[in-house]
Amino acid sequence: MAITKDRIALTGNEAIALAMKQINPDVCAAYPITPATEIMQIFASYVADGAVDTELVAVESEHSAMSATIGACAAGARSMTATSSQGLALMWEMLYIAAGLRLPIVMPMVNRALSAPINIHCDHSDSMGARDSGWIQINSENSQEAYDNLIQAMRISEHPDVLLPSMVTFDGFIISHCMEPVETYSNEAIQEFIGAYKAPYALLDIDNPITVGAIDFHDFYFEHRRALAEPMLNTVIPVVEEIGREFGKKFGRTYELFETYKLDDAEVAIVVLGSTAGTAKVVIDELRAKGVKAGMLKIRLYRPFPYAQVAEVLKNVKAVAVLDRSDGLAGFGGPVFGEIRSALYDLPKRPITTNYVYGLGGRDVTLAHIASVYNDLLAIVSEGAPQNLVNYLGVRE
């Protein structure tokens, strides 16, 4: 039977709120923060209208939002929340607990810069800071991908071989507040796809009492952390691939670990996350028309990072520019740069790499910016090395 689809104009936040309505979780606990506020504001109206069965918990901070979500999930409920920037930062210690307890919480995360200075606009500093917390991270280029990724994240997180929390990220304001056509599916089709929730364990199962969150010392902590690493090492990636294919069969859009754009025969390529990929595709088309073999790798799954698969698609490129929308302040460029350099290290013949930190605090990235990166890459290919390993794209000198 064909799946009913509607094509409607939605902002990223509206698309995500709609997806959450269609997922119909048992519990949501949330606290407002720009630019994610609208998600729970719209969702709260669904609760008030009786359009969902969700218990909505209005809490006093993001620390409490994640704590309540963890509590609900440990009780056996399908649980969600949403946040951004400082809100994610305030959730910090609870993020690690959600992962350590293996609770399949799914959270839309709208990318916004971190203070100081205070800024409400897009960069990826927030989610990049949480990259080692044990959460799966799935990035979205646009509202359609955010909508589709959120639905898939339910299946990925709740998969018995995974059982880890997921954050689905999309760019603040650029996507969260930008209206564009989104293909949506019926509630029934989404419910059929995500299926009934089966909790890994439940505190409310009073016939089988358990202890959750007990203390571990040197005798057990290491073993529990090793067990936590296992899905990240071995099972999440094949599950993400499997769910992406299944989603494609049902809804017509297949998702992979990443998207390649004209990368097969590319001599110069950029690696990018999020909405900038759309800008880059326009530049690549223009360069291709001029005979330049330009390509792009857009990372979708950032945690766990698909090192081997990334190396495979970049192995024949001569020079790669990694675009980081956050500065790792590591003295060696942004976090994506480190991942890509590491992924390429084992290749017998490695592409030359260079890093561009760009777009911090919502600084616009234009076609000209991206074109200048490709120009630099062409110079790097002819000269054999980059002038600077780490560059700041679009900053005033």
Binding site: G100, P200, Y201, I210, T211, V212, A214, D216, D219, H224
Partner: protein, 106 residues
């Protein structure tokens, strides 16, 4: 230490997420090996006033079936010395001794 560690389960054999598949398990957890000073109870001197039992923060003063003070639970006693401190000075039925004096004996 190595032989003890080898008897514990490996990471593949543990329940998910640090879960303990039954409640009230802290009693089974041996905390007595944190102790650096050991309380020694003298049954001859003890007047069974139960002040030590009331003050012990780890419920490590044992009572007999008849409800009389009946020694120390060394599996849980962490050696804080509160029992010895609170035992009336004229009675002095509990005294603290460095663990090194016992050469690892139970």
């Amino acid at each position: 230490m190595a032989t003890v560690a080898n008897k514990l389960p490996g990471w593949k054999d543990l329940p998910i997420g640090g879960l303990i598949e039954k409640p009230g398990t802290s009693e089974a957890y041996k905390t007595g090996d944190w102790r650096s000073d050991r309380p020694i109870w003298d049954a001859e001197k003890c007047i069974d006033c139960k002040i030590c039992w009331m003050y012990c923060p780890d419920s490590s003063i044992k009572l007999s079936a008849e409800g009389k003070v009946d020694g120390i639970d060394y599996m849980h006693c962490k050696g804080c010395g509160i029992c010895a401190e609170e035992c009336p000075k004229k009675v002095n039925a509990i005294t603290m001794h460095p663990e090194s004096e016992f050469h690892g004996e139970k």
